[in-house]
């Protein structure tokens, strides 16, 4: 079963003293990078695994040292404080919007590693002695390395700039969204997208209407299947691209256009992308002269998708024995929000 397979790591959090470099920065003043550690960082980065820091250290001195090594830009939301590392990990999880069971810590101190696992049992920890072997572990080997994966760090860095812009903005959140000039492009899934499609189904937990994963061959078959609508959505704004962040699989049934899967990357959770995709499908179903219906399976983590459907005007019409429900759209046509420029590519 799928469950036996270990969840892939999305972010590796590094300790600094005696882990990234030898020695203690504040005591020794002069430290050297561990042998070959830069190659490890580069390789993880190119696999699309994010990097961060949890170190009890002086922030300014540590960042200055990282700048000198030319490594500062590899690390997102570095937590360099005197506080507990469990807090640092929680803060990284929140800032990146990824769950704790996809985060790992590498640290030379057993006491730090156990403090973290005591508070967050699902965080995986590794002794710094093993830093070279990290690359060989299955949890650090994504099935594919997509172009989205290679760009992942840059995309998160764009997000940091956006978040700052949002904090500095003094107006309503809708007014802020208007300043972003977001463009959503909806297209048919093509063969070249399949790796990203599979990656999205594996990585997306919260914003996923069913949690069903499809293997590569099934996905490949769906591309040319005339009975399915299989779409991928890409988002960009004035700060840069978010990559391919949304996916829809819907079946053309006799009476209805039936959504089997609707998912979006967590990075676009506050952008109304789920609504925009649903608005597109509402129009499409209307063109076909069919009802728009959808499956929802409660995975324990995707309540947000249920709420999105319901507040868009979907109603539960059927409850199945396995606990899944069928939802049906009962309203009229809807217009896209005015802060979002939606284009639809040859469907």
């Amino acid at each position: 079963m799928e469950e036996l397979e270990e969840k892939k790591i999305k972010c590796l959090v590094w300790d600094l003293d005696h882990t990234l470099w030898n020695g203690t920065l504040l005591e020794d003043g002069h430290v050297q990078l561990m042998d070959g550690v830069v190659q490890v960082l580069e390789e993880l980065d190119s696999r699309g695994i994010l990097l961060s820091i949890a170190s009890r250290n002086d922030y300014d001195m540590a960042m200055q040292q990282l700048e000198q090594f030319g490594l500062a830009s590899y690390f997102l939301y570095p937590q360099i404080t005197w506080g507990a590392k469990s807090n640092a990990i929680a803060s990284i999880s929140k800032s990146l919007n990824i769950s704790l069971d996809t985060i790992a810590l590498i640290d030379d101190q057993a006491v730090e590693r156990s403090e973290v696992t005591h508070v967050h049992p699902m965080v995986r920890t590794y002794d710094a002695l093993n830093y070279k072997h990290i690359l060989d572990l299955p949890a650090f080997q994504p099935r594919f390395i997509t172009s989205d994966a290679k760009m992942r760090r840059q995309m998160y860095q764009h997000d940091m700039v956006r978040k700052q812009a949002e904090e500095d903005f003094s107006g309503s959140s809708e007014a802020f969204l208007k300043t972003l000039h977001m463009k959503l492009k909806i297209s048919k899934v093509k063969a070249g997208d399949l790796e990203r499609v599979e990656e999205l189904t594996l990585r997306t937990n919260q914003l996923n209407s069913t949690g069903i994963t499809y293997d590569f061959d099934m996905l490949s078959g769906l591309i040319s299947d005339p009975n399915h609508v299989f779409l991928i959505a890409e988002l960009e704004d004035k700060f840069g691209s978010y990559g391919k962040i949304g996916l829809v699989l819907a079946e053309k049934r006799e009476e209805s256009l039936h959504i089997k899967l609707l998912l979006m990357s967590c990075r676009v959770m506050t952008r109304g992308i789920g609504s925009a995709l649903l608005i597109y499908l509402i129009g499409l179903a209307q063109n076909y002269g069919k009802q728009l219906t959808a499956d929802f399976i409660d995975t324990g983590r995707n309540r947000v998708m249920y709420i999105t459907y319901k507040l868009m005007g979907f109603y539960e019409v059927e409850e199945h024995e396995d606990g899944s429900v069928t939802l049906s759209y009962q309203g009229g046509p809807k217009a896209y929000p005015d802060y979002l420029d939606v284009t639809v590519d040859e469907i």
């Binding site: 107006g171 809708e174 609504s275 249920y306």
Partner: protein
């Protein structure tokens, strides 16, 4: 503080209260920001000590602050 005022407080916290009245249609723009929708449900549950069942999560119960207050009132009974 009544329910409506307490719910308005959430919109103030989130910087979404500008021009908002108890009867403003929150979904008039045609879109639902998923995170915000989740947050408002959780806010109502935690603030008023309720569990909002799936069958109560409906557009008409969340359309306005007034409607949310009525929902809370009903579930409190």
């Amino acid at each position: 503080m009544n329910y409506q005022e307490k719910i308005m407080e959430f919109f103030v916290q989130k910087g979404r209260a500008e021009g908002l009245t108890f009867d403003t249609d929150l979904f008039a723009g045609g879109f639902v920001d998923s995170l915000f929708a989740l947050e408002i449900v959780i806010y109502l549950e935690n603030t008023f000590g309720l569990r909002i069942k799936n069958s109560e999560i409906r557009e008409e119960n969340f359309k306005t602050i007034h409607a949310m207050a009525a929902l809370v009132e009903r579930l409190k009974k």
